[in-house]
Structures are given as C-alpha cells and as structure tokens.
Amino acid sequence: MSLVKKPSFKASWYLIGIFKGMGITFSNMIRNLVKKAGNDKISLAMKTYNYPEEKYEYGPRFKGNHVLTVKKDGSIRCTACMLCATNCPAQCIKITAAESDDNTVEKYPISYEIDILRCVFCGYCEEACPVDAIRMGPEWQTAALNGSDFSYDIKHLAYRAQLKGGIVSRVDEEERHKAGI
C-alpha cells in the first residue's frame, strides 16, 4: 500500500527556496570572479580542481583500486588460499591455484583476476588476507576504454606502472621461519 500525501501548505511556497538557492549560487559565482583562487592564503574563492590535469589524492587508508603485494624478490606474495575470494560479497575475485616447483612456496596463483565492475570496494579481501598479499590503495580511477580492461589480472594488480616495480608485503615467510613460527 502506498500513501499519497498532499503537499503541505509550507511546501507550496517553493519560490522562496528557489530564490535562496540561487542566491547562494550567484554569490559564490560573483565571489569567484572577484577573488581568484590561489593568489592569497585566505582566499574566499571556492577550491576546485582542474581535473584531469590536477587530481585529488586520498590518504593511504582509502579503499581504492586493489594492489597485489610482492615478496622481496619481486615474485607475487599471494598464496592462492582463496580466502579473499570466499569472503568477497560481490564474488568478483577469481583465482586459479597451481603447484609451484619451489618447495618453500608450494602453492601460488597462476591467475588472479578481479572484475572491477563487480567490486563494491568493501575491503573484505584485504581483511581476510592472512599474508598481506592484497591491499586496497589510494588510486580511485577505474575508467577504461573497453570491457576487457575492467578485468584486472596479476600483471595489472601487482606490476602496473604506478606501483613502480611492486609494493612489498609486510608478512615475510623467511622472517617468520627465523622467528620459529
């Protein structure tokens, strides 16, 4: 059942509201014309960015695009335990595990794909990861030219140009072994 409410008497005087709103808009416009931004410290001008030349940078805690971390030797840190994929509410992570020839590694992902269009940026993957292999970084632009570019693979997630060779994971297997764990 839907309720139909008649607009109240107060709401029928909408012209007042419109004039108030337009007043704010025009006063800001005139202020921006008179005072130019950036000239003095206590500028009254509104701060805007000249996107895309200037981009806002979020703090490191921002939940933006995913990053797969790497080990000290540059190989991928992920152990393909699938906890992120299990925890993902949007089911956007797809991992294929394989057996590694290296006895100390044993299991590693041969493919790790994130469908960024399905991702809801909740950060549960980051929380689930036992070895700090996946993080959500400060990057927030996900625009791309065609559909396949929205499916991020290992090459993009771990070694894209912005990461400058990869971000090193905080959990190091060798150090843990030395500590006797």
């Binding site: 335990c81 699938m82 764990i181």
Partner: protein, 514 residues
C-alpha cells in the same frame, strides 16, 4: 546388550563395544583423530576423553569398553580443559599453513581448534621443522610437518590394503610418517589414506589445489567403475565433478574404495564429453541436436526394417547403462525385431577379483543387463555379429561411458565400420568414431551422475543412482533416446517426484565447514 547413559541420554549397545561407538550410536559429537570405525584401535591422540561416573581419572572413549550401567559424559569443564590441552600439544609443531593446505575446510584440527582451542600458544620453544612436499608415489604428496602421528594411514596399509608400506620413523618430536627409503606408496587403494588423514599430511596429487573444498557440494551415488558398485560421494560445483570419495556402506564397500574409481571425473567432465549429436564420415560432418538426431535414426531404422528386413539391423549393448535404460533399449529392439548382441569388453578378466573391492568386470550393471536380456527375450552370440557384420545396413551401439575400461574400442569401431552405417550412443567424444570409414551418427548420452536409475552389482544387489548435476544439457539418457527412436515425444511436465531434487543444490544452506 548393555545399557549406558551418554550425556544424559540412555543408549543400548552390543557387548564389547567401546564408548566411542556408543557415542556414535547416539549421534553425539566426540573429538577423535586416531580412531576410525574401519580400523583397529590405537588410542594415541588422547582427544576422545570422557568422564565416567565413579572413575576418578578421565578415560579415552575409543579404548574403553562399555560396562552395564555406565554413566558417561564429555561435556564437563574437566573434559573441555583436557581436550584443550591435548589439542595444544598436537599443535606445538604443527605449521600454521592452512592457507596453502589442501585439507583446509575439512580438517579435523581446524574444526577442533574452533570448538575447543582459540587460545594464544604458550609454547616458548621453536617449532621443529620437518620435510614438506615429499613425493610419496604417483598419487600422494606427504607433508610430515602437518602430521599429528595418529597412525591411521599406517594401520590402513597394515590392516586393509595389507601392503605395509607406511610406518612411523624416528623418536619423540622428530617422529614422522614415511616409507622405507622413500619408496613410493603405490597400491590400488592408496588414496584412502588421504581420506582418513584427519589433517593435511597426506594429500591427493590429483585433487590438490584444484578447488577449495568449501566451494564443492557433495551427493551420494554409486561408483560405475566396476561391478562391485561401491557407495561413493561425488564432489562437484557448477564447473563439473572434482573428486570422488567413498561413502560408508557395510554391505558393499565398508569405508573404502579403489583409486581407479576416483578417476571418474576424467570421463564425466565436460572437456571429454560429446556435446552435441554428429552425423558424418571420416572427420567430416555436421553437428545436430541430440533429440532430433535420435528421432531421425528411429525413423530410418523403421524404414530399413520395413523395406529390407530386420536382419539388416543389429543392436549392440554394454553393461554401462541402468536397468531402466536397458529395458527401454531392449524393448525397442524387440519391437523392431532386430538382434541384440552383448559387447563384453574384457571377457578373459570378467570374473577376476582382488579379494577386497576391485573386480575385473568394469561395468556397473552387467548383472542387470543379462537379467533384462533374458526377461525381454533378446540376445544373440557375439560370433554371429562378427560373421554377419558386413551384410548389415545399421549397427546401433549403446556405447561405454567409461571408455577407459574399454581398451577394445578402436577394434570394435573397425568391426562396425564393415556395416553401412553405425549409430553410437556415447558419452565421450572419441576421435576414432569420427574418423570411421563408414557413415557414423553420434548421439550424446548422460553419464551416471546426470540420470536416475538402478544398477545391479555383481551379486544382483539393486542400488540406486541419482541425478546430481547436469553437465551436457543436450545429452539424452538411453530411455529418452529409445522413446524418441520409437516415435514418442519426451514429455517434460516439470513435476519433480523425488524429494531430493526439489532443492536447488547451489542455494541450499549446506556449504561445508568453516
């Protein structure tokens, strides 16, 4: 019978049963690693602790016999404390590599830890490092660090497979499971040790890292690998079948199954299957809808029989189909008046038996087929087909779905190529069939996990198989194919009579542990 009380519940058990068996009879939870119902009692894990009234010390349930009037509980604080510390000792040298462990999700140690543990470790010493990823033969990988020395696998090779390969070596915290000089553990039942391993020490090379177990659903069915007909559990997801495990059935297989039977995903999964019907000759032809192809074959067969006589057509059957399918197919043959021949894949090995489970007859339903042929009143000796095949217009073959057991497939295709046409109802896609020199029609059939029906095993025991999943949507069961061939329509009424098929497997709540 002895009466006893377990956690306040009265239960009667047979004389000589252990307390843990009484627990199982009531269906109550009790932790146990080393005890397995199919093996002897070892009493080494010390986790099945119970408190018996009148006994000052805690006892292990697996090695204590029930006495008349015993009052037993395993839910007091004293027990919980004992189990917690027992678990702590098990975990002293256990590496915490659950993320890369193939057992995670169905690991008893994980389940137990979530129930009783959840403490910070109090061990100040370093963990003892042992060998990891030890190659233990073609089917098994051993990780000695994860092993908790329950000795189930050792007892299995001693008592069940009687091959005695495994043993526990060294002493104290350096003890580890292994084989002498790392000889391979390679017997026809070796993967059972993986099933009974409560932790991830023994893992199957085939299933390792393929899928996380919590993504898989399971359903009980009957193995179609040989005429023993073991009860099995198939593990599957949307992509297909991933592994097969034995299901407990005292009348047939106990707790075990052979390694060969675990290979059924090889011929069930989509990548080895015939996906649509095919008409052609020497690798050139066209794809068709399975139902339309079956109908067309039926019409031509009727025409050939009417115009040239029923001795121009022959039906060939194998013991790979269910009773219902056999009856439908044989009745069709009888209606047409054509002769039916039974293709026996390995006649010299048919009666072989290794004393435990494996039988030489690699068909699940040879018994049922013979019975159905007698009942319907068809069946002619194979030698007759061999001599008369070149005069035939049509050979209609209900081919094998497990083609790994049919090593004579190529020979038989060559034999049937002498006739003018050959029609194959077959689950797998075989190059030899497509390359045959005469005209070939291939019609895809369902495998044993995609249809309902009954198998009769070597002793005539009727066992039901059920539809678990659909892998090839167009495939027909032989019953459906026979119906179409005889000119009837397949009526899809949408009414599901079997209760277990009303639920959607992928939306039910049962999703494994964790």
């Amino acid at each position: 019978m002895l009466k006893c009380k377990i956690n306040g519940q009265d239960v009667e058990v047979a004389e000589g049963s252990s307390i843990i068996e009484a627990f199982k009879a009531t269906g109550q939870d009790i932790a146990h690693y080393c005890w397995h119902p199919g093996l002897s009692v070892a009493g080494v894990c010390r986790l099945c602790m119970v408190e018996i009234e009148g006994n000052p010390r805690l006892q292990i349930a697996c090695n204590t016999q029930v006495q008349e009037g015993m009052v037993i509980n395993n839910n007091s604080d004293k027990i919980k404390d004992a189990v917690k510390w027992g678990l702590d000792f098990h975990l002293i040298n256990h590496p915490l590599d659950c993320p890369i462990c193939a057992q995670a999700g169905e690991c008893q140690l994980q389940i137990q830890y979530m129930k009783f543990g959840q403490y910070d470790p109090e061990m100040a010493e370093r963990k003892v490092k042992k060998r990891k990823v030890v190659d233990l033969g073609p089917k098994i990988v051993l990780d000695t660090e994860r092993c908790i020395l329950c000795s189930r696998c050792v007892r299995f090779t001693d008592e069940v497979s009687k091959t005695n390969e495994l043993g526990i070596f060294n002493r104290g915290d350096h003890s580890e499971i292994g084989t002498v000089d790392d000889r391979p553990l390679d017997n026809p039942y070796s993967v059972n040790t993986v099933d009974i391993c409560p932790v991830g020490a023994l893992t199957s090379r085939e299933f390792r890292f393929q899928q996380r177990v919590w993504y898989l659903k399971n359903e009980t069915t009957v193995c179609n690998g040989c005429s023993t007909g073991c009860s099995t559990k198939v593990y599957f997801n949307e992509e297909g079948m991933w592994r097969v495990k034995p299901d407990h059935n005292d009348d047939v297989n106990g707790y075990w199954m052979c390694d060969e039977g675990r290979g059924t995903p090889r011929f069930v999964n989509k990548d080895s299957r015939l996906l649509s019907a095919w008409n052609g000759q020497k690798d050139e032809g066209q794809d068709l809808e399975a139902g339309a192809a079956a109908k067309a074959v039926g019409q031509t067969l009727k025409k050939v029989v009417a115009e040239q006589g029923s001795d121009k057509v022959a039906f060939v059957v194998t013991g790979q189909y269910t009773d219902q399918e056999n009856r439908a197919f044989l009745s069709l043959a009888k209606d047409l008046g054509v002769k039916v021949y039974h293709w026996v894949n390995n006649p010299e090995k048919m009666d072989e038996f290794d004393g435990l489970l494996i039988r030489g007859d690699k068909n699940p339903n040879t018994y049922g087929l013979k019975e159905a042929m007698k009942e319907v009143g068809v069946g002619s000796p194979w030698s007759e087909l061999e001599s008369s095949v070149s005069d035939l217009e049509y050979v209609v073959v209900a081919g094998p779905e497990n083609h790994f057991a049919y090593s004579d497939l190529t020979d038989k295709v060559d034999l049937f190529s002498k006739a003018n046409h050959q029609v194959w109802f077959v689950a797998g896609d075989h190059d030899v069939l497509r390359a045959a020199s005469n005209k070939v029609s291939l019609i895809p059939t369902k495998t044993y996990v995609e249809k309902d029906g009954t198998y009769k095993n070597f002793e005539g025991r009727e066992q039901r198989i059920r539809r678990v999943m659909t892998l090839v949507p167009g495939a027909l069961s032989l019953t459906e194919a026979s119906k179409l061939m005889s000119g009837q329509e397949l009526l899809v009424d949408g009414n599901v009579s079997e209760s277990y098929r009303k639920t959607n497997f992928f939306s039910s709540n049962e999703r494994g542990y964790l």
